[in-house]
C-alpha cells in the first residue's frame, strides 16, 4: 500500500506541478482534474450548487474517509505531498531522529475548523484561503512557477509559507494537517467513524517501536497499543515499518457506546460559540473600513465571478485561474479587497488584458467563485466599464493620432473620431466588456488616459454590432474611379 501511495502521489504531484507551471496553454480534462479533485474547494462549491465534478470529488473523498480514514491527505492533497517530501528528507538525513507519539490537539483543531467555517459563512474567505491546503499549495506554486502577475506581498508571503511548511514538516511531521488544516479537521471527524481503522494487534506486537517512529502524524502510541485514528493521514508507513505484521486495518465493531463522543460534541459547541464571537468581533473592526471604500474604484474581477459578493464569498485564493490565464492578466495582490479578502485574484490591467476569445479561467475554478462561461457568453459579459480622461490623452491633448486604444478594443466601445483633424478616441461605456485592452496599451504616462473601473456586479454589455458611434471617423471615399478594365478595378 505504501508504494502505491508513493506512486499515486508522485503522479498527482507531477500533474499539479504541470498545472501550476503555467506552461500549458489550454487545460485538458486531465489537468482540469487537478484543482477539481480537491476536497475543500469542491465542498465549498457544492454549497453554492452541486456540479458533477464537485459532487464526485466530495463523494469520493468522504466515502474513502468513511472506510479508510484520511487517505485523501496522503494521496491527493498537494500540501500533504509537499510535506511528505520534507519528511522523507528527515528520514533520509537523520534516520535516528524518530517521530514520537504526542497527544494531539484535536480540540484546537476543531476551533480552527469552526473559525474557518464561520468566517466563510460570514463572507470572509481569508481564514480558509490561508489554511485550506490545496489553495495554499497552489498559490505558492503559482507564485514561483508560473510567472503570473503576483504582487511582491503575495510572493514573499508564499516564500515564507513554503519555508515554514518545509521546516514544520521536517521537524514536526504532519503537525499542520492535525492542528490547522480545515480539510484535515473535517476528514478527522469522519475518520472517527470510519469502518476500517488502523489497529495494533496486541498479541503479535513485540513493542519494537518501529510503527511509532515511522508515524509522521505522531498518532501511534505503541506502549498502550493505541492509534488516534482521527489524526492518521493514511500513509501506511506504519504498516510497512512493522516487521511482525502486527499493525494494519481492522474492521471496527460498532456496538460499544462511546461517552467521549458526548464530551466532544459539547466541546465542539463551546468552541463554535467562541469562534463565532471572535469572528463577529473581527468583522466589526474591519467592516467599518471596508463598508466605506476609500478607493474610487471596485477591483475588476475575472469573468464568471458574477459579483463582488459572490466572488468574495467563494474564492479561496488558490490561484488556479491565475495560472490558467494565458494572458497573465489575473493577478493577486495582498489585500486588494481589504484584509479580510487576502490574496484574492483580480484583473491587473497594468500587466496585460483579458483576451476576447478566451474563457480559460472559468474552466478551472474549483470553488465556483468563477462560474463556467462559454466563449460566446463571455464576449458580452461586462467585467467593468471604460473611462476616458481626455486631458491625459495623447490624441486629445497632444495632437498626435495615438488611438492605440481604439485599435485594441474588441467591441469598438472605444472608437475613433477626428479632433482638429487628428484621430482621437471616444467611448461608449455601454458596450464595453471591461477587458482592459485599452488601459493596458495606452502609452500615456505616468497616468493612463483610459481605464476600466470594476463593477459590483458583472452585467451583460450592449450589442457592439447595433451600437451607434457618434462622429465616427470615416475614410474619404475614392474619387475619379477609373473603370479601365470593364469595371473590375477602381483604378
Amino acid at each position: 500500500m505504501k508504494p502505491a501511495r508513493i506512486i499515486i502521489s508522485l503522479i498527482y504531484g507531477a500533474l499539479f506541478a504541470v498545472f501550476f507551471s503555467g506552461a500549458v496553454h489550454e487545460y485538458n480534462a486531465l489537468l482540469q482534474f487537478v484543482p477539481k479533485s480537491q476536497f475543500m474547494p469542491a465542498l465549498l462549491k457544492s454549497i453554492g450548487g452541486i456540479t458533477i465534478a464537485s459532487f464526485a470529488a466530495v463523494f469520493i473523498t468522504v466515502l474513502a474517509a468513511l472506510f479508510f480514514g484520511r487517505v485523501y491527505c496522503s494521496y491527493v492533497c498537494p500540501l500533504g505531498i509537499f510535506q511528505d517530501f520534507f519528511i522523507f528528507l528527515r528520514y533520509k538525513f537523520n534516520p535516528k531522529n524518530k517521530f514520537k507519539y504526542s497527544k494531539g490537539y484535536f480540540g484546537f483543531h476543531l476551533v480552527i475548523l469552526a473559525a474557518a467555517v464561520l468566517t466563510y459563512a460570514a463572507g470572509v474567505v481569508s481564514v480558509m484561503a490561508v489554511l485550506e491546503p490545496y489553495s495554499a499549495a497552489s498559490r505558492s506554486a503559482a507564485s514561483f512557477l508560473s510567472r503570473s502577475a503576483v504582487s511582491a506581498g503575495v510572493f514573499w508571503y508564499s516564500v515564507f509559507f513554503v519555508l515554514f511548511m518545509a521546516a514544520a514538516a521536517f521537524f514536526k511531521g504532519r503537525l499542520f494537517c492535525n492542528t490547522l488544516c480545515p480539510a484535515g479537521a473535517v476528514l478527522a471527524l469522519i475518520a472517527k467513524k470510519s469502518v476500517y481503522k488502523i489497529k495494533i494487534d496486541g498479541d503479535k506486537c513485540t513493542h519494537c517501536n518501529r510503527c511509532e517512529a515511522a508515524c509522521k502524524a505522531v498518532c501511534i502510541d505503541h506502549k498502550n497499543l493505541k492509534v488516534d485514528f482521527e489524526r492518521c493521514v493514511g500513509c501506511f508507513n506504519c504498516i510497512s515499518a512493522c516487521k511482525d505484521d502486527a499493525i494494519g486495518y481492522e474492521k471496527v465493531s460498532v456496538k460499544k457506546k462511546d461517552n467521549t463522543k458526548r464530551k466532544t460534541i459539547k466541546k465542539l459547541a463551546v468552541f463554535t460559540a467562541a469562534a463565532a464571537g471572535l469572528t463577529l468581533f473581527t468583522k466589526e473592526i474591519f467592516a467599518f473600513k471596508s463598508a466605506i471604500p476609500v478607493k474610487k474604484s471596485v477591483p475588476v474581477l475575472p469573468p464568471g465571478a458574477g459579483s463582488v459578493h459572490h466572488y468574495n464569498s467563494h474564492c479561496t485564493a488558490c490561484h488556479a485561474c491565475v495560472t490558467a490565464c494565458p494572458q497573465k492578466v489575473i493577478g493577486a495582490n495582498m489585500a486588494e479587497f481589504g484584509v479580510l479578502k487576502l490574496m484574492q485574484p483580480v484583473m491587473n490591467y497594468s500587466v496585460s488584458y483579458c483576451l476576447y476569445g478566451c474563457n480559460e479561467c472559468t474552466k478551472v475554478c474549483p470553488t465556483g467563485a468563477l462560474e463556467p462561461v462559454s466563449i460566446k457568453e463571455k464576449k458580452s459579459v461586462q467585467l467593468g466599464r471604460v473611462h476616458l480622461i481626455k486631458e491625459n490623452c495623447i490624441s486629445w491633448s497632444d495632437g498626435k493620432p495615438c488611438t492605440v486604444c481604439t485599435e485594441h478594443c474588441p467591441t469598438k466601445a472605444v472608437y475613433t473620431v477626428l479632433h482638429n483633424n487628428v484621430a482621437a478616441p471616444e467611448i461608449i461605456p455601454d458596450i464595453c466588456i471591461g477587458c482592459g485592452a485599452c488601459e493596458y496599451v495606452c502609452p500615456a504616462v505616468p497616468h493612463k488616459a483610459i481605464f476600466v473601473d470594476g463593477l459590483k456586479k458583472q452585467v451583460k454589455a450592449g450589442d457592439p454590432v447595433k451600437a451607434h458611434r457618434p462622429g465616427e471617423w470615416k475614410l474619404t471615399p475614392v474619387k475619379n474611379e477609373k473603370k479601365s478594365s470593364g469595371g473590375d478595378f477602381p483604378f
Binding site: P326, G357, C402, T403, V404, D488
Partner: protein
C-alpha cells in the same frame, strides 16, 4: 549583374538623383522590352487566394524573379489578432500557404513566418489558421514575442523614427516577402503593406505615441520588401483593425501584387473604396520617394479570372 539587380540598382541611383518620383521604374526601363517587362503592379480578381496569387506571380515573371535556390526567406503575414479567418482580421491562411509553398518550390533553404502580434501570439497564430497553413507548406513558424530576437537598426532618412528594433530574421534573410491584409484601421485609416511592417518591429506601440503616420512612412525606407502581396479577399471595411463581427467584412476576392509598397497601398486603398489621398502615411511615403501613389503613371496588369 542580372537584369533584376540592374533595375534595382538603377532605381536606387535614380532615387538618389531625385528623379525617381517623376519617372517611375517601368517608364525608365520598360520601354525597350515592352511586353516582357514585369508590370509595376498586378491586380487580380474573382478567384481563390491561391489561384489569384498564382496568376499574379505568373504575370510578374514567376517566383524565380524573387527567390533563388538556397536563399532564406521571410514571409510576413498580418497575424495581429486572435480572430478566425472569416473576420478578415489577419492575412488569409490559404494565401500564406500558397506563398510559402512557392518559395519552398523555388528551392528556398528556409522559409520563416512570423508576426509581432497585438494579441497573445500563441493564440493568434493558431486562431488565424496561419500557423497550420504555413507549417503545412513547409515554413518555420517562429515567435516574435521576445525582445532578444530584435536588433537595433538605423532608419535612413527617418524624420520621426530614426532608429528602431527589428526582428533579426527580417534583417538577416535574403528575401523579404510582405503579405499584408487590407483592412480598416481606427488609427491609420487603412492597414495595408507599409503598415504591416510594424509587425517586424519591437517597440511598435511607441509609434502611436510619437506620430504614427510619420513613423510608418519613415520605416518604409528601412528595407523595402522584395515583394508585396496584398490579401484583399475578405476586406474589413469598418471597426478595424480588429473587427467586431462578420458584418464589417465584405468578400472582394481581389489580390494586389507589387514590389512598390506605396503603389500597392494606393491601389488597395481604392479597392477598399477609400481615396489614398486621405491616408496620411501614403502621402508622406510618396513624397519621400519610397514609391508612387500615382496609379496613372505606372504599368498595371489587371487580370479577371
Amino acid at each position: 549583374m542580372n537584369r533584376r539587380e540592374f533595375i534595382k540598382k538603377s532605381i536606387q541611383a535614380a532615387a538618389a538623383a531625385g528623379a525617381y518620383t517623376m519617372l517611375p521604374a517601368s517608364k525608365l526601363f520598360g520601354a525597350a522590352a515592352e511586353g516582357k517587362t514585369p508590370p509595376h503592379l498586378v491586380a487580380v480578381k474573382n478567384s481563390t487566394p491561391a489561384k489569384m496569387y498564382a496568376a499574379a506571380l505568373a504575370a510578374m515573371g514567376g517566383i524565380s524573379q524573387f527567390v533563388r535556390r538556397g536563399q532564406t526567406v521571410v514571409v510576413k503575414p498580418n497575424i495581429g489578432w486572435d480572430v478566425t479567418p472569416e473576420l478578415g482580421g489577419n492575412t488569409n491562411p490559404q494565401l500564406v500557404e500558397a506563398v510559402v509553398k512557392s518559395c519552398v518550390d523555388a528551392g528556398a533553404k528556409k522559409v520563416y513566418v512570423f508576426d509581432h502580434t497585438c494579441d497573445n501570439w500563441k493564440k493568434t497564430y493558431k486562431t488565424s489558421g496561419i500557423e497550420d497553413a504555413a507549417k503545412k507548406a513547409g515554413a518555420l513558424v517562429v515567435s516574435a514575442a521576445s525582445e532578444s530576437d530584435y536588433v537595433n537598426v538605423k532608419v535612413p532618412g527617418g524624420k520621426t523614427l530614426k532608429e528602431t528594433k527589428v526582428h533579426k530574421l527580417a534583417v538577416e534573410s535574403d528575401v523579404f516577402i510582405n503579405v499584408p491584409v487590407l483592412k480598416n484601421h481606427g488609427s491609420s485609416g487603412l492597414t495595408i503593406a507599409m503598415k504591416n511592417l510594424m509587425g517586424i518591429v519591437w517597440n511598435r506601440w511607441s509609434w502611436h505615441a510619437t506620430g504614427l503616420h510619420q513613423c510608418i512612412a519613415d520605416f518604409a525606407a528601412y528595407r523595402k520588401p522584395d515583394l508585396n502581396i496584398v490579401d484583399c479577399y475578405r476586406v474589413m471595411k469598418a471597426n478595424g483593425p480588429r473587427g467586431v463581427s462578420k458584418e464589417d467584412v465584405v468578400l472582394m476576392k481581389t489580390l494586389i501584387m507589387s514590389k512598390d509598397m506605396v503603389a500597392a497601398d494606393a491601389a488597395s486603398a481604392k479597392i477598399a473604396g477609400a481615396d489614398p489621398e486621405g491616408i496620411e502615411y501614403i502621402k508622406i511615403a510618396d513624397a519621400k520617394g519610397i514609391g508612387t501613389m500615382n496609379l496613372d503613371s505606372i504599368n498595371i496588369r489587371r487580370i479577371t479570372l
